[in-house]
């Protein structure tokens, strides 16, 4: 099967610090891929590079004479080289990132947040997808008019994923969706992601440090350590791996 996304020999430097070292991966249509690793493993850098945020960061840092950001390697999405493409054009092609730490607009209310997320969509379409987002997370419905900054962490994360869905992704990148949430809320979100996959043609990549809830639902996973690929395999293989067991499950 032709991969929808393939990353070849990706290297990302912040000044002289190597954040991602020679990383290669690929994922097929409709697959769930996990990127597992501890803090500072390079998960967020990978997500920012795939979504193109790093291209924008590089421009802005250069403008104000800040940090020098360098990207080597190649990212191909549906046969097109997108390594140097701006985030806007990637969103237009269906690559949507949900950033880490509940990326919501705190001073706008929940409904406005969802409408903001539909920036590139037609008005009639936004209405329809916003309702789909409410179907997936019914808890948000009665919070519609509340300022997003006043929501709890779990509610904010539901909203954040809802917003990413309003942008109608074909490749959804989730950066640490479970961070800072209670185990119950983590389970709820994992279930929601499963529902999403079953209902539409969607390719998902999850970067996460909590392996336990994530490994059972992924098709294929990569384990990152210090910016380098340490291990890769199907979800089952990773779960059965003794090293993964001792590092992530404490067995």
């Amino acid at each position: 099967m032709e991969p929808i996304l393939s990353v070849k020999n990706l290297m990302v430097f912040f000044e002289n610090a190597l954040a991602l070292n020679d990383f290669t991966m690929e994922t097929g249509e409709g697959q769930i891929t996990g990127i597992i690793g501890p803090n500072s493993a390079g998960k967020t850098t990978l997500m920012n590079t795939l979504s193109g945020l790093i291209i924008d960061m590089r421009i802005k840092e250069r403008r104000r004479g800040g940090e020098r950001i360098t990207v080597y390697g190649q990212i191909t999405y549906r046969g097109e080289d997108i390594t140097e493409m701006t985030p806007v054009n990637r969103v237009k092609r269906g690559i949507v990132l949900c950033r880490e730490r509940h990326p919501i607009f705190p001073e706008s209310n929940v409904l406005e947040n969802l409408r903001i997320a539909g920036y590139l969509k037609k008005r009639s379409r936004i209405k329809k997808i916003v309702n789909q987002a409410f179907d997936l997370f019914p808890a948000l419905i009665h919070l519609k008019n509340r300022k997003a900054g006043f929501l709890s962490g779990g509610e904010q994360q539901m909203l954040a994923i809802g917003m990413a869905l309003v942008a109608e992704p074909r490749l959804l990148l989730l950066d640490e969706p479970l961070l800072g949430l209670s185990p119950m809320m983590q389970q709820l979100l994992v279930e929601a992601i499963k529902v999403l996959i079953s209902e539409s043609v969607l390719t998902v990549m999850i970067a996460e440090q909590f392996a336990r809830p994530v490994l059972p639902i992924i098709n294929f996973g990569y384990i990152l350590e210090n910016g380098m690929l340490a291990l890769s395999g199907t979800g089952k293989e990773l779960m059965d791996n003794p090293e993964v067991k001792s590092a992530y499950f404490g067995v």
Partner: protein, 290 residues
């Protein structure tokens, strides 16, 4: 005297709201510091005057052209000046303030000083309310303030671009993940803010003469209203305009007219001491909760 104070205080309040509207949209709502606001206001006044008196165009066309030209100037200032220092708040303020000074002092250098620089009233005449006479131009100020406030509210809450203004100001990177281009949106907000400054100029300037000093006063008043009301809050702008507007009119009528300018300065000082985010500043409210 009392009825006069009430009516003229209201006119003054509307005038302040009108002056602050564009500044609030660019700086308060979308977070681009535009301290050349007063210069753009004066620029559009002189532009309209030149179109009218040197080119002899019909006044309605002059107004439209002045607004369009100011919007273009705003977009240009973003791309040439602000873009290079974006994200460095202090540099943004210094660069735009310096540019504003340059624009205003250039007008003075080229001798745009004197009583001949006036714009005609939209409609001549006046009307009496009780025993107070109020001219149609001041009524136009009231109507323009109401219309533009309504426009801004609808624009920032219900249109794609307006929502994007507010989104980028709150979290630029997250906004990028939904396909917004931060430079494009910031340039647009400069354009819109400058067009609003120009609109305020053609309504307000016929009440007096177009003077370079007016630019400084406009910036000071807009800043006072935004600080007192709370940056970015449309309701705050209205409340602050009414407070400062009436305070100024009462000072002028019952104390000394030349103390009027002090009112905005004192208002800024008091608010910064007591509630630095302004009466309706909501940033603080969220921070305290979290």
């Amino acid at each position: 005297m009392l009825l006069g104070t009430l009516i003229y205080g209201f006119v003054n309040s509307c005038l302040l709201a009108l002056l602050a509207m564009g500044f609030n949209l660019t700086f308060g709502i979308s977070g681009v510091a535009n301290f050349s606001y007063g210069a753009i206001y004066i620029f559009s006044g002189f532009a309209a005057w030149i179109f009218l008196n040197s080119a002899g165009l019909p006044y309605a066309l002059c107004v439209i052209m002045a607004i369009g030209l100011s919007a273009t100037l705003g977009v240009l200032i973003y791309h040439v000046v602000i873009k290079r220092v974006k994200g460095l708040a202090l540099s943004e303020v210094m660069a735009t303030f310096g540019l504003g000074l340059a624009i205003m002092e250039l007008f003075r250098y080229f001798d745009f000083v004197g009583f001949k620089y006036t714009l005609p009233n939209l409609i001549e005449g006046s009307v009496a309310i009780g025993d107070v006479y109020i001219d149609y131009q001041r009524i136009a100020v009231i109507l323009a303030a109401i219309a533009l406030t309504g426009f801004i509210y609808v624009f920032t809450h219900y249109t794609r671009t307006g929502l994007a203004f507010r989104a980028i100001a709150q979290d630029e990177r997250t906004a990028l993940t939904f396909g917004m281009d931060s430079d494009h949106i910031a340039a647009l907000s400069m354009g819109f803010g400058s067009a609003l400054a120009a609109a305020a100029a053609v309504v307000v300037l016929p009440l007096g003469t177009i003077a370079v000093e007016g630019g400084y006063d406009v910036l000071l008043n807009a800043l006072a209203v935004c600080i007192v009301g709370g940056l970015g809050s449309t309701v705050g702008i209205l409340v602050a305009s009414v407070l400062i507007g009436y305070a100024q009119t009462i000072t002028a009528n019952y104390l000394e007219p030349h103390w009027m300018m002090l009112v905005s300065l004192i208002a800024i000082a008091i608010v910064l001491c007591i509630k630095p985010s302004g009466i309706f500043g909501h940033q603080k409210e969220l921070e305290e909760r979290i």
